[in-house]
């Protein structure tokens, strides 16, 4: 979803960060800036040292460290948790391809006009309402355990398949609503001018409306990506051996929770950079919009 290079030059040449930077820095000399950075660093170090001392001196620290931060347990559980995390990332990768396609179909069906399209529209609304109304974990249990139990021929029966399907259906419903908001935010006049140059309804949507709609909701879509990256772990309830499941297995064997921390570290390692990229994109988008307003 995110470009390979986050530092893409802005679409429109305009007041770049240089100008803003100069304006921000104009009241402050470079030495003052350097001093501020130094003070910030020093106070952070002092804070961290004090916090570390206080925590490790507390009477319960040895027990906490043993339960959650045991280096041996970490080392021991790491390979399995990492292997499980690889499964999480696979689920993430599949979902991130499937969800936009489903969501787009739903959003477009929902924004159809004209009485002839009513059944399609009603179906989309029903689907979205149901998918959004059921707790995701319930949907995962329902599809992941329920459908394989039917033993239908010609239908996949793996927990992995149905877990991913449940996740994708639920997220597609949410994403469809985001896209619909984006579509609704495109002025009616854009549709009119697209139809006026002879485009069909579908062509107008494809070339005029959707590109603008998606641009409208990029920040919201990116937030969905961030939360999806973590929600893949919900599939562990089906027994799929992903990171959380592996950590759980280790814990139930050893009564040590360090494996959970190992899993948390792995999720953080992906989600924090992802959040930063999202922030960057959102800021860039806002800058682009304010440039337009000038």
């Amino acid at each position: 979803m995110t470009g390979p290079d986050p530092v893409v030059p802005p679409l429109v040449p305009g007041p770049g960060p240089g100008i803003f930077g100069a304006r921000l820095g104009s009241g402050r000399s470079r030495e003052e800036g350097a001093r501020a950075a130094l003070v910030a660093t020093a106070s952070t170090v002092v804070f961290l040292v004090v916090a570390a001392v206080l925590i490790t001196r507390s009477p319960n620290w040895p027990e906490v460290r043993h339960q959650f931060f045991d280096p041996d347990a970490f080392r021991e559980s790491w390979p399995d948790v990492l292997h499980g995390f690889w499964t999480d990332m696979k689920i993430f990768a599949i979902s991130i391809v499937v969800i936009p396609v489903l969501a787009l179909v739903l959003a477009v069906a929902r924004s159809f006009r004209g009485p002839a399209f009513f059944p399609l529209k009603a179906l989309a609304i029903c689907f979205i309402d149901v998918m959004r109304g059921i707790p995701m974990i319930l949907l995962i249990l329902l599809l992941g355990f329920g459908v394989p139990a039917l033993q239908l021929s010609g239908v996949p029966s793996g927990a992995f398949f149905w877990g991913v399907a449940a996740l994708a259906l639920s997220y597609a419903a949410y994403t469809a609503e985001i896209l619909r908001a984006g579509i609704d935010a495109v002025p009616e006049s854009q549709r009119a001018s697209a139809r006026a140059i002879g485009l069909t309804q579908g062509q107008a949507l494809r070339h005029a409306i959707l590109p603008q709609a998606i641009r409208n909701v990029i920040p919201a879509l990116m937030n969905t990506v961030v939360s999806l990256q973590k929600d893949v772990a919900l599939i562990s309830v089906l027994g799929v051996r992903e990171a959380v499941r592996e950590a759980q297995i280790y814990t139930s064997r050893t009564f040590n929770y360090t494996s959970y921390v190992a899993a948390a570290v792995l999720f953080l390692a992906v989600s924090i950079p992802l959040v930063r990229v999202v922030d960057h994109l959102t800021t860039r988008d806002r800058a682009r919009r304010s440039q337009v307003a000038v």
Binding site: V12, A192, I197
Partner: protein, 249 residues
Amino acid sequence: MSAGKLRVEGLVKRYGDRVVLDGIDLSVDEHQVVCLIGPSGSGKSTLLRCIDLLEPIDGGRVLLDGEDITAPGVNANSIRRRIGIVFQSFNLFPHMRVLDNVTLGPRKAAKVPKAEAEARAMELLDRLAVAEHAQKYPEQLSGGQQQRVALARSLVADPEILLLDEVTSALDPELVGEVLSAIRSLAAEGMTIVMATHEMGFAREVAHRIDFLHEGRVLESGPPSQLLKDPTQERTRQFLKRVIEAGRL
């Protein structure tokens, strides 16, 4: 009156209970320029949108070259390619460069090859003196430039008739002239034009006929020299008096 390039017969348009067009009759001959004037809310924009089949109509019909384009089963998309329309607020596609804005219609709706569509588009942009902005995005252009791009976009399919919906109303005063002079030269080349406008001076200069709309009807119709100087209807007189007071005539 002859068959005419465009004929509107008894056109009715309602929004809910509100009657916006209350039986409009109108005829435009080939190479004729007709200006629609009247207070806001009189139905000028709605009429133009109905003629371009952008709004479903509730009564009457529209004929283009004698063919009823409002009849059921008519391919509205192909009709719209024969009619050009330019809107008050330009309505360019903000995510596309100027050139792509102009070529989108021919390429997608008429399946014209890219190179051919671009050559034709550049020719038009050049004529409208915006060729140098072809690779820019609409937001980088002034209102007058954007409106000339919108003109190019509506002309690229070689429409048989051009509908202009208050195309200068959203422009800063100093940018109105450049758009009007583009329209003036189109009119001089024989383009058939129906133009809703508040630019009475321009209407007097280029229009062959002026129609005064009031509450969804054509209340009065005549050559500019007569209608603007010596209207027969009291409503028209009142409207023109206010226009004159505002310094627009």
